[in-house]
């Protein structure tokens, strides 16, 4: 089964990062399977962050593509990830 690879780019002292992490964790818990979350310290992964186009934190990268920067509403995040998850599963089928 194909997994949605989520990378959450955070940074030290970033108050909004914790908020987005909570939202992403909640989404992953609800999805139960097919979602893998990796929290990435942007300072430690500067090269990769720059290559992905990350300009600020928090930033969300899904399947190797930057999809949002900042803190979305829970509904917006759910819709965005549902769409990606559907696409991933669609590719598998």
């Amino acid at each position: 089964m194909r997994t949605l690879e989520i990378e959450l780019f955070t940074s030290p002292g970033c108050p909004r990062c914790a908020r987005l992490r909570t939202l992403v964790d909640a989404y992953a818990a609800r999805a139960r399977s097919g979602v893998h979350v990796c929290v990435v310290d942007v300072v430690a992964e500067l090269d990769r962050a720059v290559e992905l186009g990350v300009r600020a934190t928090p930033a969300l990268v899904v399947d190797g593509r930057l999809v949002l920067t900042g803190t979305p509403t829970p509904a917006r995040l759910r819709s965005l990830l549902d769409e990606r998850l559907g696409r991933s599963r669609g590719k598998r089928e």
Binding site: S11, P12, G13, C14, P15, R16, V37, C38, V39, V40, D41, V42, V43, A44, E45, L46, D47, R48, A49, V50, E51, V54, R55, A56, T57
Partner: protein, 146 residues
């Protein structure tokens, strides 16, 4: 007033304008990087727009670590692109590739610094810029979450 229409400048004005010493300007002329510069009736050098353009090119090329010999070849190509010999064209192509590569590196550096500045501006607990420069991107702090 545009540089093209400006009056030729004395050597002192050029040193101030371009940050090159008078000795350097005279040396460039002596070794042929700069064609013989115009003179006043009393023999004082006067630099025209074309001279200033060449001097700016030389200065830019030097910041890219080109040798004076290479710069001479590049200037010949600049003067006469169609009549340049294959060796000069080949050198120019090689230098063009180097410039492209360095430009890519500079763009990456610019994006990295912009990201760090953004992080710094948004940080509540201080500025991670110094930490970023010290640590680099070795991936040692990547934390997979089960």
């Amino acid at each position: 007033m545009s540089e093209r229409a400006a009056r030729p400048l004395p050597i002192g004005a050029v040193t101030r304008l371009l940050g090159l010493s008078a000795d350097t300007l005279r040396y460039y002329e002596k070794i042929g990087l700069l064609p013989r510069v115009g003179r006043t009736a009393s023999g004082l050098r006067r630099y025209g727009a074309r001279d200033l353009s060449r001097l700016r090119f030389i200065r830019r090329a030097q910041t890219m670590n080109f040798t004076l010999a290479e710069i001479g070849a590049l200037l010949r190509f600049r003067e006469d692109p169609s009549g340049a010999r294959p060796r000069v064209r080949e050198l120019t192509a090689r230098k063009f590739s180097e410039v492209e590569r360095r430009l890519g590196e500079l763009e990456h550096l610019r994006d990295e610094l912009r990201l760090l500045l953004n992080l710094c501006a948004a940080s509540r607990d201080g500025c991670p810029v110094i930490e970023g420069i010290e640590e680099g991107g070795d991936g040692s702090r990547r934390r997979p979450k089960p």
